[in-house]
Symmetry: D3
């Protein structure tokens, strides 16, 4: 639980930018860039609140945080692009493919078989893209 982003001197925005880079990598950068013309302030909020505030908190490791996020997004089932970003993020912070598959299978119990299926097919795409790259 020491992988968080402490640095007394930096702003929420700076800390968020660092956290986003480590967690979401290129995919996170693209989301922020895509907001530049429509809602630049919201790009700032994305960096500051989820990344500068929440993912930077102590008390839960990044691996555990990505387990929670993947589970929630697969269960909700209405945020396909974000689910893919966080399957990628899960790999970035050290989750094994097998672990991600287990999380998604488990969602069949809490959100139904279609939610699990759609999550698994999202993971299949992300894993394939990563194999190519």
């Amino acid at each position: 639980m020491t992988q968080q982003f402490p640095n007394a001197g930096e702003s929420r925005l700076e800390r968020g930018r660092r956290a986003l880079a480590e967690i979401d990598g290129e995919a996170g950068h693209k989301v922020v860039a895509a907001l530049a013309d429509i809602a630049p302030d919201f790009a700032t909020y994305v960096l500051e609140f989820p990344f500068g505030d929440i993912y930077s908190r102590q008390g839960l490791g990044l691996r555990e945080r990505e387990i929670a996020t993947i589970a929630a997004l697969a269960a909700l089932g209405n945020a396909a692009p974000q689910l893919k970003v966080h399957i990628e993020a899960g790999l970035n912070v050290g989750l094994a493919r097998e672990e991600i598959v287990e999380i998604l299978i488990q969602m069949a119990v809490y959100a139904g078989f279609p939610a699990a299926l759609n999550g698994l097919f999202a993971a299949k795409e992300v894993f394939a893209q990563r194999a190519e790259a």
Copy 2:
């Protein structure tokens, strides 16, 4: 990742009963008992599929499985009794109160502040009941 429930000789139902007892404890037993008159077959399915099949799988530890379940139920926001059962289950399998609180706070990002608030108030109730007992 050795806390799962392997035992070549037992049935899915027996393994599920063991897993339910360890994970959900008394709360899980009550759910199964409450189904006895209305849908006894469904009580069997609850033991067999989520517990006998899914929670008994290798590849993801019980702590991680409860992180995923708490996150999913808090995000969905329409299964308050089950969320409480699994906050209790999280404690049973070794999650610290602080970790459960972190998971629920994080849901503000993915399912909105009301989902996080309602999850935190559910945790508050479970923690208080546990302090009494």
Copy 3:
């Protein structure tokens, strides 16, 4: 499929009132009455559109319509009072208790085990109240 509510001479409101009485019985009447002071126009819409228009249509029997409604409300999981009204309605239009239980069990597959559990406990309450009455 002849149980619908054809009557060339009556208005949507009159037909809806007849349909509501047959399908939802006393429970439907209470919902309409409870709207009288806060939103009387919405009470009229409830009678006219779901009951005067939709349930009065040909092409699908009332039994089948209540199967669809019970399944949808149990799957959505955020409309507990309406689910109870329609479990009652299902009984009113000829569904057996066993059939209603089967619909609710099946929702475990499409909306998760918590949705099925909460649906079954709603049915348990409705069946018990009906036994008393």
Copy 4:
């Protein structure tokens, strides 16, 4: 209600495979095949639990089960591929196109007009593909 899949000698997996073939046909086979590389165990669960256990139960006919499934998936609105598979399945087990359209129209009442619209457009696609084949 005699269309279920009794056969004392067969396993849940075998019964599920038979049920899937009859209900979902080619579309169901494709889903199972698509899981082969990412999560073969989940393909087994899909066959065993929804099909080997639930759809094989007595107490509710396959026509009624597909009414419930189409209604639930259209109401949830976050499982478009599965809704199409089950519109097809509804036709396979004897629902008329008109009946499926009625179920989807009715969802406007319980899940809103967008859910009904998206369900109807899914049905339009499935019916068109079937006309071509």
Copy 5:
């Protein structure tokens, strides 16, 4: 609040057709047309109930009604085509692009950041199409 559609002599269908044309413009017309072969009665309901009844009511202006609709559709997150139609409708009834962006940003608080992101990207598409036309 005088932009509603009073005309004592016209039917709900006629009033709905007028309201749809003013609010949703071409996009609304396309939806109604697309229903012609699959569910023509539902096209009539779309005109009569949401437009002939609800949007024609007094007590809340069209600008305010579109704020409510855009917020609800972005929060639900499972009706992408309808969200785009109503972002367009918002512009048609006088909402500024900036106001629509603010509504969507605000949804991060109540339905999570992915819902807000997907809403903003839908707005980006609608604004771009409008710039081209």
Copy 6:
């Protein structure tokens, strides 16, 4: 659109506290207080992000912001306590009861009649409590 909370000298937390007091009044204060023992940091986030950041933004008035929030919470249907707080907040920032009722009626179109009914019954409770006080 001048009712926002500009004050160059104050922190996000201070501005959020001011905004919460004006918008949610006593109900908002109670939510923050209830978090003190379980998740005091989340109380800070509630003040800083929704209130210090979002509701303090220009570009959309508080009346319009509460229309959006009431619509979203009624449509989601899984955050009953927060819906009541924001029906109260809507009154606080100048929405008429009639306007709130109209927003909730309109949700029947986008989220179904049960969502509208449950929203209207929440408003009935809030209006009654306010009449007593």
